[in-house]
Symmetry: C2
Subunit: 333 residues, 2 copies
Amino acid sequence: MKFHFLGTSAGSPTIERNVTSLALTFEQKSSWYLFDAGDGTQQQILRTSLSLPRLDKIFVTHMHGDHCYGLPGILTSRGLMSGSEGKVTIFGPKGIKKFIETILKLSHTKLKYPIDFVEVTQSETVFEDENEKFDCVKLSHDVPSYAYVVQEKDRPGAFDVSKAKAAGITSGPLYGKLTRGEKVTLEDGREFDGKDFVGEAKKGRKVIIGGDNDSPELLNGYLQDAEVFVHESTHTVDVKENLVWKARHSTAASVAQVAQEKNVKNLILTHFSPRFSLRVIDEDDSSMCRIREEAEGIYKGNLNLAQDFDCFCLNRQGELTLEKRKAVKRRKS
Amino acid sequence: MKFHFLGTSAGSPTIERNVTSLALTFEQKSSWYLFDAGDGTQQQILRTSLSLPRLDKIFVTHMHGDHCYGLPGILTSRGLMSGSEGKVTIFGPKGIKKFIETILKLSHTKLKYPIDFVEVTQSETVFEDENEKFDCVKLSHDVPSYAYVVQEKDRPGAFDVSKAKAAGITSGPLYGKLTRGEKVTLEDGREFDGKDFVGEAKKGRKVIIGGDNDSPELLNGYLQDAEVFVHESTHTVDVKENLVWKARHSTAASVAQVAQEKNVKNLILTHFSPRFSLRVIDEDDSSMCRIREEAEGIYKGNLNLAQDFDCFCLNRQGELTLEKRKAVKRRKS
């Protein structure tokens, strides 16, 4: 599973960060999912290997512009590409359907593929099939905002054909039964247990991708066995305390606290206020280092601060590594 | 007067061009105007010296997404900046008001400045004050589309104070009359004609900025004395003839023909199909050189093919020069 950060800025883009968007890709399939899409996300996608026709699910955490203004451009450009006839499903808060439909209509845009909308109003399962399950969890923000919990289902271990053959079991319906872990009796009376022929089950991974939220503890019930926790960290405590307008956002400390208490293995912070820059030196209060310091003081797991175009890889053992990062030149503020 | 090209691609962005947008700035004022804003235009603006709080008029040629999807992000980011309390007026086809208002409402966005909307349905004057006049001209496209004609008013020449003093005319109301070119009689009976004290009037410039359009000759009545003509040139003739879906766009040849017939001094082509690349070599049919060749064969004036971040300067004598251009690496296709 890979996390492709397409935008990591809060509110407005900066010269080094676009507004929020995150793509999720999987080892076993070519289709991929998008979580939020601020203005300019399609231009970010152009600079990756992600293919728009293969985008088939979009999850919108909330309706603020820095999380959804990029959707119409993505949907329209997707429609101009060959091989994009497949349906797109958009999950999001109430209003997302009217938002997309009004824009497409007023801009005279007729897509060649269908869009399904799933509007959410409470914490619930929004999608489930044999491979995965998506729950949304209501958060606390100035407007309705949600986290999405992506849960892969456990996959049965591989069937050991050579072992079955060696035991003299002939291929056919018996193999199917053994694969499913059932017991079978051969015509000669011998009995076999499927679990002796099937390798260890592959445990599904769980990742949580939060929207804007001032109360990360709302996710406590989901964090215990999650492999990755992606959450906004708009401010440091100092900065938040001195804001004239107290926006309902998290601090690095508040997210780190929850992640530490719940033993989260891998934490990725994103959605940083434009005041925090990657380019300025550590001593400056507008340096991203302030966010890192604050989180590091509390959270002792694998801490990551996302940058645009970061690609993190989560393996099946639940280890998260930064696979690719674009260089950023640092300078004195 | 300066033309800042923020996006020069048709339909979808490419790795080298964003979708359409053009900013116009003036020598005598800090406010500036924006013509169209495809998705991602605010990110382009970030990479220029243009200041969003000083943007006070936006002209939308038509409602296709590659010309207007960037507006909500621009308006929202402007609202987050200090000094942005001033009104913005948006001129555009019917639907632009509903488009902006629906998006702002559904994204819970309350701007701290007012927006005035001027919706156009026919060729008419959309704005006029003592300094300038804006006309819109109906074009021919798949959806209602307009060109905007920017006409600076002539400005009176400077009053020669030292000459008036030398003639023994004392400052006060008489100076005002002379400045306006009136005749005055002094108490001693001497008569003076204002025109002897006022320098040559500064002629206002006229520029035409077109929207998507398959019939550039619709602008014939406006081109005769225009200093600059900016028009889409989506395809070459060859490419257009082989398109399965005949979009109602201009070719380099059709725009060049009109510009040549009307003796246009300065022509700037923009809005190129993504198939034309700056980076590929001349021999390739997907090279931008094909557009240039086709236009050069017909139009003998000052021909320019706009690139993103090009800044063209039009002086008061009507001479257009390319002031700044970002380097683009060329490569074999």
